[in-house]
Symmetry: C2
Subunit: 245 residues, 2 copies
């Protein structure tokens, strides 16, 4: 084990369309996978509506509690896109059309097409760094430890790829999955609890899912120390093998 401090993160999804169910979020899973892959500990997710006071409150709560905050949604050209203004308000900084962002929009739009609405996408809080958008050019931005990204999954993914190299990362959390199949959780839960106590430096979880043919249970052991992980994995495999008899 190591004393390296853990790097933590939260996600804030901004959008009435997610809360109404009309759009099913895909970004949470993408960012969660990314964090796990690079050793960032995703600790919380919130989804809030397109309302400035709600966005400001969530941004300020989450940027204080975690190393990084990733937001998605609300940075387009329409009146309901209020994320940039809300993040500026959360930080108490001004916001205006940013020449760097305007130049990016001009890569896609003719000057005569850069109307007031499109220029909204160049409104960037003072002090922010831009996050390039290779797909539709309108950038995201980083202000302090907050990364503001698009809601369209393909664009969010491209922005995440861009910011990835700039992120401080920690020791990766490694994991092993032990397939318990249709072995009922109730048959191994007692022994598994004892193994969790015996292996205090790893985290052991049991995750049921349902298939056409019934329950399919998985035991997952996670941790940063490979040796401790292997020891726990071995004990869990022995348990499952013994119970399968």
């Amino acid at each position: 084990m190591t004393d390296q401090p853990s790097i933590t993160a939260a996600i804030l999804v901004i959008g009435d369309e997610i809360l109404s169910g009309r759009t099913k979020d895909k970004n949470i899973g993408t960012i969660a996978d990314y964090c796990t892959a690079v050793g960032i500990d995703l600790r919380e997710v919130r989804i809030v509506p397109d309302e400035q006071d709600r966005i400001v409150a969530a941004v300020n709560a989450l940027r204080t509690d975690y190393t990084y905050l990733f937001t998605t949604g609300g940075i387009g050209p329409t009146h309901d896109d209020i994320t940039a203004d809300s993040v500026a308000a959360a930080f108490g900084v001004s916001i205006d059309v940013d020449p760097r962002a305007k130049a990016m929009l001009l890569e896609r739009h003719k000057p005569e097409d850069l109307n007031e609405a499109r220029l909204r996408m160049a409104r960037i809080p003072a002090g922010a760094d831009l996050i390039a958008n290779p797909i539709s050019k309108a950038p995201g931005f980083r202000l302090g430890n907050v990364f503001v990204m698009a809601g369209v999954p393909a664009i969010m993914q491209a922005m995440l790829d861009n910011i990835g190299p700039t992120l401080e990362t920690g020791l990766r959390v490694l994991s092993h999955t032990i397939e318990a199949g249709n072995l009922p959780e109730g048959t191994y839960a007692g022994d598994l609890a004892a193994l969790a106590i015996a292996h205090p430096t790893v985290s052991i979880g049991s995750y049921p899912s349902m298939t056409q043919s019934g329950f399919a249970n998985r035991i997952v052991v996670r941790g940063k120390d490979p040796e401790a992980l292997d020891a726990a994995k071995g004990d869990i495999e022995d348990l499952v093998t013994r119970l399968r008899g």
Copy 2:
């Protein structure tokens, strides 16, 4: 319009496996769709890890702010299933094996198979009503305005079906979708903002998505008053038709 108070809700998803990305949540979308269909205004979602202090804090924040709180996950038989104990702690009530819940488990398990781990699934906070689980019998429960449900989507859905008739519902939010197709958001954003001001009793949003052939934009108008909704819809359709030329 009406003065009927709106019925609000939040969702709390409990589970390390969602935050790690290993499991992709499906319950948020299901509950969001349900709320929209019955006239409950889903206002917030949080995802937190399997840690009692985090669950307690989120339960107490969300049950205070909204009419209903729906939780998913963490009610199985293994040591990492701590939702019931955490909800009891949040309410400051005791928790113990509930004879009604034990009877439900005995519908599925022989008495000699009802070991200590399985009996964990019958631990219910004092004062709670049970939510039947037709699939694997282990019940969820309602305590005050908090509904505690399973994380396995099929079981969550069945529990949601069971609690549905007990929920107070509001006026349904009706919606119309106007397909803007590949008409760029930036071409209609200014006019749409003006329509949003002209139709203050409805909510107008513009939602881009990407397809193989480029952007596919949708304008969605939502509201509880059918006449106001139709008027806004008509104006937006006229706008899109005019711009499509």
